[in-house]
């Protein structure tokens, strides 16, 4: 666009293209406590205070167990996914491709590198948001076989 008069042109618009590119490359990471998630897959979550999510905001859950096995879905029906198939499975998942977001539940004892590698795969599969699931502090999830702590 040119401004009128004097033949002088002023550059008034910010070129947003590079900005948009950066946005598209970024994986948006947020932390959530999701006390409502049925934990069928055995994962010890880090205890961190974070925003809690409602059941209707819940996304598909990807879990990484301490043995580094990957699981999709919550509860007892979670399905094990071989690591080499993860990207394909996520890419072909209609719900994920519509929501563009998933919840990641990784055991707190896992090495940082293992978790980041999975997150990179998630991003390559076209998912732009990852909710890192934590346990609210002091509200440790109790397993039925666990004994009550002494008062």
């Amino acid at each position: 666009m040119t401004s009128g008069g004097g033949g002088r042109t002023t550059l008034t618009d910010i070129n947003v293209t590079p900005l948009v590119d950066v946005m598209l490359v970024l994986l948006i990471i947020f932390m959530v406590t999701a006390p409502l998630i049925q934990q069928g897959v055995q994962v010890n979550l880090p205890e961190v205070r974070a925003k809690s999510v409602d059941a209707d905001e819940q996304k598909l859950v990807l879990s990484i167990k301490l043995d580094r096995s990957l699981w999709l879905g919550a509860g007892d029906d979670a399905a094990r996914v071989p690591p080499e198939r993860l990207e394909e499975v996520l890419r072909a998942n209609s719900r994920l491709q519509r929501e563009k977001e998933l919840f990641l539940m990784a055991d707190k004892a896992l090495p940082y590198g293992v978790v980041v590698e999975v997150m990179a795969t998630v991003q390559r599969a076209g998912i732009t948001g990852v909710g890192m699931i934590t346990n609210p502090p002091g509200e440790k999830r109790r397993r039925p076989d666990e004994e009550r702590p002494p008062k």
Partner: protein
């Protein structure tokens, strides 16, 4: 007035019935229509794993092509491939996790006389069975089409079109062939191979014969091809005739009669007797297409200077112009649903594209754009939910099918050069 109120009450009552209200339906005409996400689980095999896999692929392709469903990519499936058909054995959350709302499962059995399938249609969210059927078929492809037809019927309340056929003319090096395909473009069969020109097939409504324009006798004339004995006989009209079209009840034929430089729309009995001239203008009047009730005809006329679509009663009365946009509108085809007339139009870039005009209000919608230079000669599926046409988007003109909005288009064929497709009737039930 009272009748209207009664009808409204009946509607309200039927909506309140739980069995109706709970049933998930694909309301195709709804303005907010979106394809229903369905997963087609790999069919279980009893005896013939190859046939089960083939039937699975046929069902997936059929449902996707219809434009009614979003068929989920099996690469994303989380369920155990051996999961059974009974609702109690199905882990529905795994299907919900991939975004499925409907789930199609089947067990394919090879018997002494062909195949059969136990079909189950399930609702993922409620975790319950919607439909259980045992379906027979001669081969795996036929079985797949039957299953897809059942799924469509369940969700839309209308018959599916996957077991219908599409006839077309194929250009050969030294002539023309009359070819018939399955509705998915597979299984091409050559009915006639001619040195002379062949054009514009039209199905007898019972599917037993095709009316074709042939130049066997030197000029354009109507000929009838019969499937049962492969006979090919002339319809003696006594004049140059082309573009014959069988009326929906099979009792009359509408055609374009050629006299010198003038063409007019006529009708006659299927044996050529009882001829009746419907248009008399000195302009070109041609390409008649019957309304589904057989009471009216759409046709093309250039009486206003450019080729435009017109409609008239079947006796030639009440001729009125239907299209006012564009300067070159031709090949009208009246939808079996009665609401739309599909046609070919040349736009200002001299590119041919497919359009449809609403009978009610005359609103024109575009089905193709920038998909090759020529998309032309539409023919409706018998349920009016899909339209077949030819397109040169991939090189030589091939068969393409689309939903009536042009949102889901599929090229069905490859090789050869195809023209003037005609979608056949539903098979007898």
């Amino acid at each position: 007035m009272r009748l209207a109120r009664l009808a409204a009450t009946c509607l309200a009552l039927s909506a309140a019935l739980p069995s109706r209200a709970e049933r998930p339906r694909v309301v195709v005409d709804a303005p907010d229509f979106h394809p229903l996400p369905v997963a087609v689980a790999p069919f279980l095999a009893e005896g013939d794993a190859h046939a089960a896999a083939e039937a699975t692929e046929v069902v997936r392709a059929d449902l996707a092509r219809s434009g009614l469903f979003e068929v989920l990519d099996p690469k994303g499936f989380l369920a155990d491939p051996g999961e059974g058909l009974a609702p109690a054995s199905i882990k529905f959350s795994r299907w919900a996790d991939v975004g499925a709302e409907g789930l199609v499962k089947a067990r394919v059995r090879k018997g002494a006389e062909g195949f059969s399938a136990d079909l189950r249609l399930l609702e993922v969210r409620a975790g319950r069975e919607l439909l259980a059927r045992t379906l027979p078929a001669a081969d795996a492809r036929g079985l797949g089409h039957r299953i897809a037809d059942e799924v469509v019927r369940h969700y839309t309340g209308e018959r599916g079109i996957f077991r219908t056929r599409i006839a077309a003319i194929r250009k050969t090096r030294d002539g023309r062939e009359l070819v018939v395909f399955d509705a998915d473009g597979q299984n091409a069969r050559v009915l006639l191979s001619e040195k002379a020109l062949l054009l514009m097939p039209s199905w007898r409504p019972d599917g037993e014969e095709l009316l074709v324009t042939s130049y066997r006798g030197g000029g354009p004339e109507l000929w009838r091809y019969r499937f049962s004995d492969r006979s090919f006989r002339k319809v003696p009209t006594g004049r140059g005739a082309m573009g014959g079209s069988w009326s929906p009840d099979g009792s009359r034929i509408a055609f374009t009669a050629i006299e010198g430089n003038d063409t007019d729309v006529w009708t006659c009995n299927p044996d050529g007797t009882g001829q009746r001239r419907l248009t008399t203008s000195p302009a070109l009047d041609l390409s008649p297409s019957w309304s589904p009730d057989g009471k009216r005809l759409a046709f093309v006329s250039d009486r206003a200077g450019t080729p435009q679509l017109y409609v008239m009663n079947a006796d030639g009365s009440e001729q009125r112009r239907l299209t006012f946009q564009g300067s070159y509108n031709q090949t009208p085809q009246w939808s079996p649903r009665g609401d739309l007339i599909a046609f070919t139009a040349r736009d200002e870039r001299r590119v041919f594209d497919l359009f449809a005009v609403a009978l009610d209000g005359g609103r024109v919608q575009r089905l193709t754009q920038d998909q090759g230079r020529t998309n032309e000669e539409p023919s409706w599926a018998p349920n009016g939910r899909m339209v077949a046409f030819t397109s040169d988007r991939g090189g030589l003109p091939q068969l393409v099918v689309s939903d009536p909005r042009g949102e889901r288009q599929t090229v069905l064929t490859s090789g050869g050069e195809l023209m003037t497709p005609a979608w056949g009737p539903l098979p007898a039930e």
